[in-house]
């Protein structure tokens, strides 16, 4: 992943989201150890304090838990938690952007849903091949 300097999202949020995506993809399972702040700092070329902030957001949300002296681990229910959070925040926000742009272009709702359906079918086709 490349960090995006221009977005409103602070780097530590981007780190937290990257870790979430890794957990969603199953790269790191429940009760497995997650990257340390120093590993993340080296991987993304960022200050370790920034990486630590990304980890602590996820700890506060219960997606990660601390084992004293051993570091941070992925909570057993992390995937479900992330899915719920992403649906309630990220997806809703994206849909808001989508609807707003459609309104600017005066695209009716049925045309919009048809466009979504087409993209979805396209994705399915690409994933098969």
């Amino acid at each position: 992943m490349k960090l995006d300097a221009d977005t409103m999202k602070p780097i530590y949020v981007q780190i937290a989201e990257w870790l979430e995506t890794e957990i969603l993809a199953g790269s790191i399972g429940g009760d497995e150890k997650i990257y340390s702040q120093y590993q993340l700092a080296e991987m993304f070329n960022i200050n370790p304090a920034t990486a630590a902030k990304g980890l602590s957001i996820l700890a506060e949300e219960g997606i990660l838990y601390k084992k004293r002296g051993l570091g941070m681990f992925v909570s057993p229910g992390a995937r479900e938690g992330i899915q719920r959070k992403r649906r309630d925040n990220t997806l809703k926000q994206l849909i808001f952007e989508l609807v707003l742009e459609a309104q600017r272009l005066s695209i009716p709702e049925n045309e919009l849903t048809e466009m979504i359906r087409q993209v979805k079918n396209g994705l399915k086709g690409e994933m098969k091949s």
């Binding site: 780097i11 080296e42 070329n45 304090a49 920034t50 707003l100």
Partner: protein, 303 residues
């Protein structure tokens, strides 16, 4: 423990106050970026901290001691800028060995590795190197000294983009393995902000803002759109920067204290919200009171 502590620190050259009533604390083992425009007093401050210059008034403490004429401070501090007073009769290899004798934590492997990587011949003489190569040697020496207080004052002068990137990466990697207090001044905040923990922003010898990098990134919000709309939004808010794109279109930077609801409303009304980078914020916060560069040119209408 605090690595650097300044209270009402002033350094004057004659009647000119380069540093004026500066107070701040830098905690141990943090990388802090010192940012400011030309003439803001960055170099003077760093030289006072390094013990090269005597303060005029106030207090400065490095590892709890006044650094001026202090052997403890100078053995624990390395200061790198683009004007290193190396003797002309010594080749790079001699310089490294001299440094090794002075700095207790010196890592010769790192020094040689860096010289090798950047294809610097250790039998070469320093004053014969190009400007960029001099800078590369300087930072290699600064890193290899592994001093508890490592000061880099505009260390990348003359270095090409690739070398600068390599240096920032080397600094971060060495810092991860050997945490220490690093002060790094630069005009190129965009390039260094990711590896910083804090930023100390200076303007006209004074402290403008001293906070974590994330605070700088979230401090301001850019608003673009119809002037009329923006004026409504800006009411009772701190306006940091204003720019008229056209007669009725403007770009406004305000302190980022809008609620989620207000942002939502603004977007629906057709206002573009944009992030303000830490670098841009620093420019706005230290802008002079003489208007903008546009005012230097007479008003003309481009067709």
């Amino acid at each position: 423990m605090n690595a650097v502590e300044c209270r009402d620190l002033t350094k004057a050259y004659g009647s000119l106050k380069a540093v004026s009533g500066l107070s701040f604390i830098i905690e141990e083992n943090k990388i802090t970026g010192l940012i400011g425009r030309n003439g803001a007093g960055k170099s003077t401050l760093l030289k006072v901290i390094a013990g090269f210059l005597q303060k005029t008034a106030g207090e400065v403490k490095v590892f709890a001691e006044n650094p001026f004429n202090n052997l403890t401070a100078s053995a624990n501090t390395v200061f790198i800028d683009d004007d290193m007073p190396f003797p002309q009769s010594l080749c790079l290899d001699d310089l490294l060995h001299t440094a090794a004798g002075f700095y207790g934590n010196w890592d010769m492997g790192l020094a040689k590795g860096m010289l090798d990587y950047f294809s610097l011949d250790s039998k070469q003489y320093y004053h014969r190197l190009s400007k960029g190569m001099k800078s590369i040697f300087n930072v290699a020496l600064g890193l290899s000294a592994r001093c508890p207080l490592t000061i880099f004052d505009e260390p990348t002068a003359g270095m090409d983009a690739g070398a600068r990137k390599d240096f920032y990466r080397a600094l971060l990697k060495d810092y991860l393995q050997h945490p220490r207090t690093v002060l790094l001044s630069s005009h190129l905040l965009n390039e260094i902000e990711d590896i910083l923990e804090d930023i100390l922003l200076m303007g006209e010898g004074q402290k403008m803002l001293h906070a974590p990098v994330s605070h700088f990134r979230e401090y301001a919000l850019g608003l673009g759109g119809k002037s009329r709309l923006l004026e409504d939004l800006a009411q009772n808010r701190e306006v940091i920067h204003k720019y008229h794109v056209t007669e009725d279109h403007a770009y406004l930077v305000i302190k980022n204290d809008l609620t989620e609801q207000e942002r939502h409303q603004a977007r629906l009304a057709g206002v573009d919200l944009a992030a303000v980078t830490a670098a841009d914020l620093c420019v706005y916060l230290t802008a002079g009171k003489k208007g903008g560069i546009d005012d230097v040119f007479s008003k003309s209408t481009l067709v």
